[in-house]
């Protein structure tokens, strides 16, 4: 059955208001939407990060479901323990019914410090969904670069200066790394396309075994945008093909959204303060390099999904 908001709105809100995420936080939208997909008992594990901090400031918790935060780099290992405990106790008849397990981590806790823990848990084949809410930097500690930070983005540890134009590297392709574990399901999503995203979470939760969703999440503080545009800005990441929506199901790639007109990356760059320096004429070659990288990644993806390559609309 197709998802519709009227039906979803009748379900209990699993994340209580009163959390202390910034007004207009894109990550908490991604968390909230993921929870809209949940049916039945679920346990959530969290890596240290913005969402962990802002939803559980003692003595308050926003979680209406069981929740565990252990440390920064080990959300996947921790949920492995929870899930294994469930299997053990169920096998012994000490617990009944079914249960789902979701681990959340930001890009710092997933692409960087938590990658080993994630890889281990994926390889072992635990029955859990890992959702990386990817805002492209260590926002919780004050906008430091991560391996998910876009090319040339200015962060506090990759600032744009007189001679260095922000981050020197392109982000690693974590979704591909996860897919290389041959897990049954890995996908990329964006909260602006809630139907696609919530549908993916539902799908992932229904699959037995390790599943993964990499969801782009805006951070107006780190991206230097307006809080009101938190949804627009991730939509544009998809329209420029910086953040394609696709899924890998049992090794088969499927494109979930193809922009009618593939927008130039400049359209996304120019509305974010973190790329402000790039608009300088002297950095035209860098903008071209950025565009070339997007085009190359997009073409490579289309080759895997069997879709046609689109030219950038100019």
């Amino acid at each position: 059955m197709a998802l519709n908001l009227k039906e979803l709105s009748k379900k209990p809100e699993l994340l209580s208001p009163g959390h202390r995420a910034c007004a207009g936080c894109g990550s908490v939208i991604a968390i909230r939407q993921a929870l809209m997909a949940v049916e039945g008992p679920v346990v959530v594990g969290f890596a240290t990060g913005c969402m962990e901090v802002s939803t559980t400031i003692y003595p308050y918790t926003s979680w209406r479901i069981p929740y565990i935060h252990d440390a920064f780099e080990n959300a996947a290992a921790t949920i492995s323990g929870v899930e294994t405990a469930f299997r053990s106790l169920k096998k012994q008849g000490k617990i009944k019914g079914d249960m789902k397990f979701i681990a959340f981590g930001g890009d710092g806790g997933t692409y960087d410090i938590g990658l080993q823990s994630l890889s281990g848990a994926l390889e072992r084949g635990h029955d859990f969904l890992y959702i990386c809410y990817n805002n492209g930097a260590y926002m919780n500690t004050g906008i430091q670069r991560s391996s998910a930070t876009p090319f040339c983005a200015a962060t506090t540890t990759s600032p744009a200066g007189e001679v260095v134009p922000g981050k020197a590297q392109f982000p690693k392709d974590l979704t591909a790394i996860v897919a290389a574990h041959h897990v049954p399901y890995a996908a990329q999503a964006s909260p602006h396309n809630w139907r696609d995203y919530i549908g993916k979470v539902k799908k992932a939760l229904a699959i037995e075994g390790p599943t993964f969703i990499n969801v782009i999440a805006s951070c107006f503080r780190g991206w230097r945008t307006e809080p009101t545009t938190s949804i627009d800005i991730v939509k544009m990441a998809v329209e420029t093909c910086f953040w394609p929506l696709y899924e890998v199901e049992n090794g088969e790639y499927k494109l979930n959204y193809k922009p009618k007109e593939k927008l130039p990356i400049e359209e996304w760059i120019k509305v974010q303060g973190r790329f402000k320096h790039l608009l300088d004429e002297k950095y035209k070659p860098l903008r071209e390099e950025f565009q070339a990288n997007v085009d190359q990644e997009w073409a490579a993806l289309l080759e895997k999904t069997g879709d046609q390559v689109q030219k950038v609309a100019v």
Binding site: Y58, I68, D70, A71, T78, S80, R87, I95
Partner: protein
């Protein structure tokens, strides 16, 4: 009825875990612990336990999975050594502060660097202040006995702290000795069912583990941990006595050997206590009034009890198998001398020995006694026993 087996320290540990039959065991190999977990893995493979193992990709993940499983409501055990424990470090503190009664066998090995696979106590001593109960075993029999008691101590509702049981790498882990084991059902009955305080899997009563705990409450939670460590003292003695009734082997905070009339006492942990007993036997034959205290429980530290036990002696030597790097002495010495402050003016002499598996012999310990008797005391700075100048 005795049920005697020839087991290495690691096999004795694995046998204890088999009989305890925990719900979850995360494990990662490291010398000299490896044999313990691979012995246990065979029990799992043979279907003689219900345990689910998690064969993680690092010790950090082993302790992380242990935290997740224990919070979920499972009985959890694991084992490690040296660098493995060091890699767990961050989560070792989270386990204790989350009040999760995990039992971890630490097969003592020197910490890198330089890398060394042999015994010293730098690994477990390094996390002596991590909020874990620490019980040091002397021989394979104690490895077995301590692990069974550890489950009861950790899970006691007045304690709810994780427990490390340690044994010396290679010296005990790989040495075959006679081990008197209990019947499976005796162990099962002794450890009982685990009833977790806040099981995460109780979805009808959702709880939040690991919140951000700032200035207003963190301090109170630390006080709770400190109090639990105090309460653990009573529980350790109760469990040790009850285990004695079951097995014929009672346990306390420490073991006193020939100390009643001893003028000179050596305090040591682990297998060295056995070496020291041999030295004492030999010296007693020559009419020397010497004795040994084998300190079994290092956390909580049994300060008043230890002071009482040594107060009749003329001098005491503390043998530390780890360096304190504090320009004074090792951690056991610091604790013992601190315990004596304003209680007794008995001199305490500091020794550091056996680092990286360097041998210690009964003759060397006889030499320590000779030092004590002749007043060659090392009160300001530890003497490094068995070191080449």
């Amino acid at each position: 009825m005795t049920n005697m087996r020839a087991l290495t320290g690691n096999e004795a540990g694995a046998y204890a875990i088999k009989q305890i039959d925990p719900d979850v065991v995360p494990a990662y190999p490291i010398t000299p612990q490896t044999e313990l977990m691979q012995t246990f893995a065979q029990y799992v493979a043979d279907g003689v336990v219900q345990t689910e193992m998690i064969l993680v990709e690092s010790e950090h993940s082993a302790m992380s999975a242990a935290v997740g499983a224990s919070a979920a409501g499972a009985r959890v055990m694991s084992a490690t050594s040296a660098n493995g424990l060091a890699l767990m470090w961050e989560i070792v503190y989270i386990a204790s502060s989350s009040r999760l009664p995990i039992v971890l066998a630490v097969v003592n090995r020197a910490l890198s660097g330089p890398i060394n696979i042999h015994c010293d106590h730098a690994d477990s001593m390094g996390c002596r202040d991590a909020g874990w109960i620490q019980i040091y075993g002397e021989n394979p029999q104690e490895v077995y006995d301590n692990m069974i008691q550890a489950v009861r101590i950790a899970e006691n509702k007045n304690v709810l702290l994780p427990v490390m049981t340690t044994h010396d790498g290679f010296i005990i882990s790989h040495t075959v000795e006679r081990v008197d084991v209990l019947e499976d059902d005796q162990v099962k009955k002794f450890v009982g069912q685990y009833s977790p305080r806040y099981p995460l899997l109780d979805t009808a009563h959702p709880v939040t583990y690991g919140p951000l705990d700032l200035q207003d409450y963190y301090f109170e939670h630390k006080k709770q941990q400190a109090e639990a460590m105090k309460d653990a003292k009573k529980v350790i003695l109760e469990v040790g006595a009850e285990y004695g009734k079951l097995s014929g082997r009672s346990y306390g905070f420490f073991d006193e050997y020939q100390t009643e009339d001893a003028e000179y006492i050596v305090i040591a942990l682990g297998s060295t206590a056995g070496t020291a007993k041999a030295a004492v036997d030999e010296m007693r034959e020559r009419g020397q009034k010497v004795g040994v205290i084998k300190l079994r429980v290092f956390r909580p530290f049994p300060a008043p009890e230890l002071v009482k036990a040594i107060s009749g002696a003329k001098a005491v030597a503390v043998l530390d198998r780890s360096e304190g790097f504090n320009a004074v002495a090792g951690p056991v010495f610091s604790e013992v001398r601190s315990a004596l402050y304003r209680k007794s003016d008995i001199p305490v002499s500091a020794y550091v020995y056996g680092l990286g598996g360097r041998d210690i012999t009964p003759e060397m310990i006889s030499g320590v006694f000779a030092d004590l008797k002749s007043g060659r005391l090392h009160e300001e700075e530890a003497f490094h026993l068995g070191l080449r100048e």
